[in-house]
């Protein structure tokens, strides 16, 4: 990029107001781009149910951070019912900032019309859309998990979706898909943080050549933390040799022996969950696995739950979690929400980060954070999780939604079947925000060059009149 580029980054919320993974990723990328000498960046985000003050939906957070209060998203077809939000407020911003590239991180709350808003402003401005979930495909909060039963779903279709949501007809689902796809057809480049998610969208109908897999950037601490010595809960169980070690769960075939136990004096028996306490994040799977452990094992371990949002769940789910917490209070403690600045300390105080989600996930931030801090991950063996964690190399996977398999895994860990130090040594260093910004800026340049070329080609090419019969049109 020779000239100064103006990059507009769009998100579903501002991390100062809502600390969702997408908001943080988008905002960090925006800040990093804004730091670059040849770039101006603007952050534009929805503020769901935000205030309408001074007679406008728009509010300034900083000179290059603008919020739009939205109240009228149709969550079925992801449409913005209040069109002036796009036609006026967003248009004004576009005309003032004059972006050379627009990067949209989420359209929920804004409406898929945000894409057309950019296209209407200038069809030659490249549009990048990062897909963070399966919202376009799935009406069940974009999770591709069956409503009610929470069974994994592999593919959408009008009739199957109608079975999940009988209140909408198959035709409604057909219209939903056609509607969303009409906007997606205006996007120049899709970005997916995982191969798994990219594949789902290709199956759904996006052209494979338009999707690029690019990992989300993380705010990486200077280097991997030192291997902090863990407390020993039971010194007696700490000493085990190859000979006395019981043949555990598939230990032999795991990671070509990398994870096998050598003689160890230190136990790595502290497990933690980080994230929202919702049915889809699988906290109940983790707690249930603890109830299935032998008392001797339970004495050896400590499980901390760092998560928020339980109070907003259904009474049934709250009751289930409450009951499980009572049953496991000897070794489990619920700590509740945490601030991002506390994360490092919390991570360093545990040995394993457990990600027991029962939905596919995309690229869970918590896995990247765990790797940032050199913590091996124990996660469900599906989707974006299985893609990010190499079983027996830098973590362990268990059968999704199977408390028994997770219990077996924990027991194997306690029995010292895995060499924590080696798994830890193998944890990859996540992509930093700086590297991610470099990659994105390179992508933008590529798109800008392609756009310039397209404009050039169109200017030179003779126009065919589609209304004339083909043989006539072929004649000069």
């Amino acid at each position: 990029m020779t000239d100064r580029e103006r990059i507009l980054v769009i998100a579903n919320g501002h991390p100062a107001i809502a600390k969702g993974g997408v908001e943080i990723v988008a905002y960090n990328l925006f800040k990093e781009i804004d730091r670059r000498p040849n770039c101006d960046a603007m952050f534009f985000a929805a503020q769901p149910n935000g205030p309408i003050e001074r007679g406008t939906r728009v509010s300034r957070r900083k000179d290059n951070e603008v919020l739009l209060s939205t109240h009228t998203t149709n969550f079925f077809n992801l449409s913005q019912s209040h069109k002036p939000a796009i036609l006026w407020h967003f248009k004004e911003l576009l005309e003032l900032f004059r972006p050379t590239v627009v990067h949209i991180h989420a359209y929920i709350h804004l409406g898929v019309e945000i894409i057309r808003g950019v296209h209407n402003y200038d069809p030659d401005v490249p549009i990048v859309l990062t897909l963070h979930e399966y919202l376009g495909i799935c009406n069940q909060n974009g999770q591709m998990v069956k409503r009610g039963s929470h069974k994994l779903c592999y593919e959408s279709s009008p009739i199957d979706c109608h079975e999940c949501f009988p209140e909408y007809s198959p035709a409604d689902f057909f219209l939903r898909k056609r509607f969303i796809q009409s906007f997606f057809s205006l996007v120049d480049q899709f970005v997916s943080p995982s191969h798994f998610l990219a594949e789902r969208y290709v199956e759904w109908g996006l052209p494979a050549e338009k999707i690029r897999v690019m990992e989300n950037g993380q705010v990486v601490t200077a280097s991997k933390p030192e291997k902090k010595r863990s407390q020993t809960f039971s010194s007696a169980a700490a000493v085990e040799t190859e000979a006395t070690k019981p043949k555990g769960r598939g230990a032999a075939e795991v990671g070509a022996g990398i994870g096998k136990l050598r003689s160890r004096r230190v136990q790595r028996n502290r497990f933690a969950f980080f994230g929202q306490v919702t049915p889809f994040k699988g906290v109940d799977v983790l707690l249930e696995s603890i109830t299935r452990l032998k008392p001797a094992i339970r004495k050896e371990i400590f499980v901390s739950i760092h998560g928020s949002g339980l109070e907003t769940q259904t009474p049934d789910f709250q009751e289930k979690i409450g009951q499980l917490l009572r049953e496991t209070k000897d070794c489990v403690k619920l700590f509740g929400p945490y601030e991002p600045r506390d994360l490092e300390g919390l991570m360093l105080d545990v040995d394993w980060v457990v990600v027991p989600s029962i939905w596919w996930e995309n690229s869970p931030v918590v896995i990247e954070e765990a790797f940032c801090h050199g913590r091996p991950v124990i996660c469900s063996d599906i989707g974006g999780m299985a893609e990010k964690v190499r079983d027996g190399v830098d973590g362990l996977t268990f059968k999704v939604n199977s408390p028994q398999d997770l219990a077996n895994t924990i027991e194997a860990v306690v029995n010292g079947e895995y060499a924590w130090d080696e798994l830890q040594a193998n944890t990859r260093t996540p992509l930093s925000v700086t590297d991610s910004a470099d990659a994105h800026l390179a992508l933008y340049s590529e798109l800008l060059r392609a756009a310039a070329k397209r404009v050039e080609c169109q200017a030179g090419a003779p126009k065919r009149d589609p209304w004339k019969p083909l043989e006539q049109a072929a004649q000069p």
Binding site: R116, I159, A171, F174, L175, F179, F183, L186, W467
Partner: protein, 624 residues
């Protein structure tokens, strides 16, 4: 549905009606509402139950009459259904086809002739709950309802009672019993029809052929004999009441007739005038039997009289069909005073390649679904797109959102409103009146393109084809099966006098059907859901025929008109769009009423085109 909404609606309905609310509806949160309007004993033979039920969640499993020990059969299952416009208007979600009113009879013998005060209505719910509701007690005089008389006549006569011609004769001596001759007559329905007609139906038992003259009379005006040109049909329900009398070879006691007779609404002396071979004369008051109804209600009642399972259904349909046709023609005549509006959104397209006409009725969200697709199709920058509002209910929302939809999607269009609901044919014809291009495309709002460029491809085909009349592409359901791949005709499975339209290959996988053919194919008819025709030919043919009720058969009618003038209709298998045929969201869908309207339309269509279709079949058959 929100309970509170229904609750509010019910309260509103009841207030406006001055009806009592049922205690159950007051106390319970169960989202169903009902009223037993009338309950009385009739002639020591039967209890009559008369009421309405709004039960969107289908909670009510049965309604019986009980004295605590004995109970009747389910009244709802065998009830005569009827529209209750008064109640319906209070429930936003109810439509004309929702026949929430019911009337039924319970044999008094079944309940030991218990006094009405001892009886209860019992609602059994699908949840297992049972609720008893005390019956109101009223007499028939409170409820002068002709249709009810007709049913009482039918039901009770089957059990051998005397006929009730009307409440009573004007002169107490003017009764059938005063005659020497053994004749019985009943008038089931009597509807004045605009343009000076009277539709009459009922039955006559005159085994000795005693009646020489039987006419409708008002003042000094007499009709022709009602038996002349009448459609006669069996009434097996009357046979038991003959009490062993010699039975005629045919028992065509039933009678329906459309009389040329100008009724004076101001006078209340409508009567049946009768002469017998013995020289007796009798004037029977039937003024109470005559009912002036709006055209839809009357169509429903008339079609409701025909038993379509019998062999004479075709003939009876012919009789009521003529009455319905006259009524609809009359209802369409006063259009001169309606307010017509036209609003353009975006710069009107200069010399458009095609005029696309889309009628909007009910769901207007289809408009945005369509525009979001048209927006990604460059063809639509050269198209004159006309949305025709054909539903007063959606007038305001469509007008309110049109400017935003244009600004968002960048497709220019115009919105026209014909001042009232004109029906599918009327709306298309009205829209065509605004066309400035030489080619029309009639398009349903629930047709969604599969890919851009389909319209210019269709136009190119239209230009290249030999004498095209109507041409239409392949239409697919959302599961990629065939909705439309050309139409042909076949005999109606139950009523062999009628031809029905047949959608070829409907429901089969589109890939299977369309891979066999790519070239345009000459067909008998194509669907109007997406039909292209030159504006000139459309005008020459008079557009879509507006005689059909509620949208049906107009497309095949148009195509048959085109064939008649020497044009050819084509199906274009190489162009595909989706058609998410409107699925009724209505929980009360009364299939019978819709099926009956379809049969009426079918009758009209066959009346007009039966010979052409037969000829078409023959010529196709011989050329094969």
């Amino acid at each position: 549905m929100k309970n509170s909404l229904v609750k509010r609606a019910t309260v509103r309905a009841l207030r406006s009606l001055g009806l009592r609310n049922s205690e159950y509806s007051e106390r319970s949160t169960a989202p169903f509402h009902f009223e037993i309007d009338h309950f009385y004993a009739l002639k020591n033979e039967a209890y009559v139950v008369h009421g309405w039920l709004v039960d969107p969640d289908e909670l009510v499993a049965s309604l019986t009459v009980t004295d605590g020990r004995r109970a009747s059969g389910d009244l709802l299952a065998s009830a005569q259904r009827r529209d209750r416009a008064d109640v319906r208007q209070a429930f936003d979600h109810l439509g004309l086809e929702d026949e929430i009113g019911f009337v039924n009879l319970v044999s008094m013998a079944d309940l030991g002739h218990a006094p009405t005060a001892r009886l209860h209505a019992r609602f059994a719910l699908t949840t297992g709950e049972v609720f008893n509701f005390p019956m109101p007690e009223r007499t028939i005089e409170d409820n002068p309802d002709r249709e009810l008389y007709a049913m009482v006549n039918r039901r009770l006569h089957a059990k051998g009672s005397a006929a009730i011609v009307s409440r009573s004769g004007r002169d107490p001596r003017d009764t059938l019993e005063s005659l020497n001759a053994d004749v019985r007559i009943a008038v089931d329905s009597c509807y004045p029809i605009a343009g000076g007609y009277l539709f009459l139906s009922g039955w006559i038992v005159d085994l000795d052929h005693a009646i020489t003259t039987l006419k409708v009379k008002q003042g000094e005006v007499l009709s022709q004999d009602v038996r002349r040109n009448a459609t006669r049909y069996p009434r097996p329900d009357l046979l038991p009441s003959l009490n062993g009398k010699k039975t005629p070879r045919d028992n065509d006691f039933g009678l329906s007739v459309l009389l040329k007779f100008e009724l004076d609404d101001g006078a209340d002396d409508l009567a049946l005038y009768m002469e017998t071979q013995d020289g007796e004369t009798l004037t029977l008051d039937i003024s109470g039997a005559s009912q002036r109804l709006d055209v839809i209600e009357m169509s429903k009642r008339l079609l409701g009289e025909v038993d379509f399972t019998t062999r004479d259904a075709g003939a009876r349909l012919g009789c009521v069909g003529q009455a319905i046709r006259l009524a609809w023609q009359a209802s369409k005549q006063d259009l001169h005073d309606v307010e017509i509006t036209k609003e353009a959104f975006g710069e009107p397209v200069k010399s458009p390649a095609v005029t696309v006409i889309v009628p909007l009725y009910g769901r207007y969200d289809f408009m945005e679904y369509q525009l979001s697709q048209f927006a990604i199709d460059p063809d639509f920058q050269q198209v004159e797109l006309i949305y025709v509002i054909d539903d007063p209910e959606i007038l305001d929302p469509v007008r309110a959102t049109s400017a935003d939809l244009h600004a968002m999607y960048g497709v220019p269009f115009i919105v026209v409103w014909g001042g009232r609901n004109r029906g599918f044919a009327g709306a298309n014809n009205f829209g065509a009146g605004f066309a400035t291009s030489d080619t029309l495309l009639l398009l349903n709002s629930d047709v969604i393109p599969k890919y851009p460029g389909w319209l210019s491809a269709m136009k190119r085909a239209h230009v290249e084809l030999d004498s095209p009349g109507g041409i239409a592409p392949a239409l697919l359901y959302e599961d990629d099966s065939i909705q439309h791949a050309g139409m042909t005709f076949d005999l109606h499975p139950d009523i062999p006098e009628l031809f029905v339209n047949v959608h070829e290959y409907k429901g089969l996988p589109a890939s299977l059907v369309l891979s066999q053919q790519t070239a345009p194919k000459e067909v008998a008819a194509v669907t109007a859901a997406c039909l292209m025709m030159s504006t000139e030919i459309y005008t020459e043919l008079g557009g879509l025929d507006e005689r059909y009720i509620l949208g049906d058969f107009e497309d095949s009618d148009l195509c048959l008109k085109a064939l008649d003038k020497g044009y050819k209709n084509y199906f274009l298998p190489s162009i595909e769009l989706y058609h998410v045929e409107r699925q009724s969201q209505n929980l009360f869908e009364n299939k019978t009423w819709k099926q009956r309207i379809t049969l009426y339309n079918c009758w009209e269509h066959t009346e007009k085109w039966g010979n052409s279709i037969r000829a078409l079949k023959l010529s196709r058959g011989s050329s094969d």
